[in-house]
């Protein structure tokens, strides 16, 4: 079984790829451009099979997934990690801002699942894991586009689980809270401190913890979990 990680050059995607590589999983990784793979943090993944993929490009998505289907005999997993954040208050949010975020976070996932649907159904073993966010259910200032896209991802997941279930394919969302080494690295330290203080576990999550949860969702113990959003946020959303 091959595992395709879409958006593997980002912090979360790369963390998942490194974890799965340690477990000897056969991987196909994508990033938007080959230049985005030059990051020294991706050196461990240099020996993997990488493909260029702009997730907003339907035709390119179909080409990549067709190749993964051929390579794996339609026995593959799909992990969608591509994500974009462009926080602005609603009054300042342009349609261009909105489209940039939703096209990557939601449209791209739709293109990928649709392209993979028939192949996964024939292969009868696949797992789909979509990386979501607690922003889907917990409003954060300035995150209208991001929150809406992640909420859409959860709805997409449930329908995919329903339609693919009869073929033995599962689909779940892993909704992460703020991660110490994820997109939070782009915000002010005070924001991270505030979130930590409001989190029952008193700290942010880590990419390694997300990767571990994804590996669980790909494994045999998660064979009967589908259509779910698994929340991993240190208890932030429980309060």
């Amino acid at each position: 079984v091959t595992t395709l990680i879409i958006g593997a050059s980002g912090a979360v995607g790369a963390g998942i790829a490194k974890r799965l590589l340690q477990g000897k999983w056969d991987l196909v990784l994508t990033s938007r451009h080959s230049s985005s793979r030059a990051d020294p943090g991706l050196a461990d993944l240099a020996g993997c099979c990488w493909m260029d993929l702009d997730v907003t490009n339907e035709a390119q998505t179909e080409t990549v997934i067709a190749e993964v289907g051929r390579r794996s005999g339609n026995r593959f997993n799909l992990i969608y990690c591509a994500g974009r954040m462009n926080d602005r208050p609603l009054l300042q949010l342009t349609s261009e801002d909105w489209n940039q975020v939703t096209s990557v976070n939601l449209d791209g996932a739709f293109f990928a699942i649709r392209a993979a649907f028939q192949k996964l159904a024939v292969g009868r073993t696949g797992r789909i894991v979509l990386i979501g966010s607690i922003s889907a259910t917990h409003a954060q200032f300035g995150q209208a586009a991001y929150s809406a896209s992640k909420a859409g991802l959860e709805a997409l997941c449930r329908v995919a689980a329903l339609e693919l279930g009869r073929f033995g394919v599962t689909c779940n969302v892993l909704a992460a809270g703020a991660l110490d080494d994820g997109m939070m690295s782009q915000v002010k330290p005070q924001v991270a401190q505030t979130i930590s203080a409001r989190t029952p576990l008193r700290r942010l999550g880590t990419v390694a913890e997300v990767a571990g949860a994804v590996e669980f969702l790909l494994g045999p113990s998660a064979g009967h979990i589908t259509g779910q959003t698994i929340v991993m946020d240190g208890g932030f959303s429980a309060t």
Partner: protein, 81 residues
């Protein structure tokens, strides 16, 4: 050529029920109340059994058992040519 019995089996899988009789020239959607998700299951099963993939843009054009059998024959011929 996919025999009528094989096509009937595919339709039964799609419908989740057995058919007492099956007309290869009947419209699957009208006569047997095949729905779009059932059709997906039918074409997936067809691919599993024959290796012939029905592209999503072609699937709506295959309305009868005979259409399916002809498509499989066409694809098998073009693959072996």
């Amino acid at each position: 050529m996919l025999p009528p019995e094989a096509v009937k089996e595919l339709v039964e899988i799609a419908l989740d029920r057995e058919l007492a009789e099956f007309d290869m020239d009947a419209n699957l959607y009208d006569r047997y109340e095949l729905n779009s998700m059932g059709a997906v299951a039918m074409f997936v099963e067809l691919q599993v059994r024959t290796g012939v993939e029905v592209p999503p843009e072609i699937a709506p054009l295959l309305q009868t058992g005979s259409d399916i059998a002809r498509f499989v024959e066409l694809k098998s011929t073009s693959n072996s040519a």
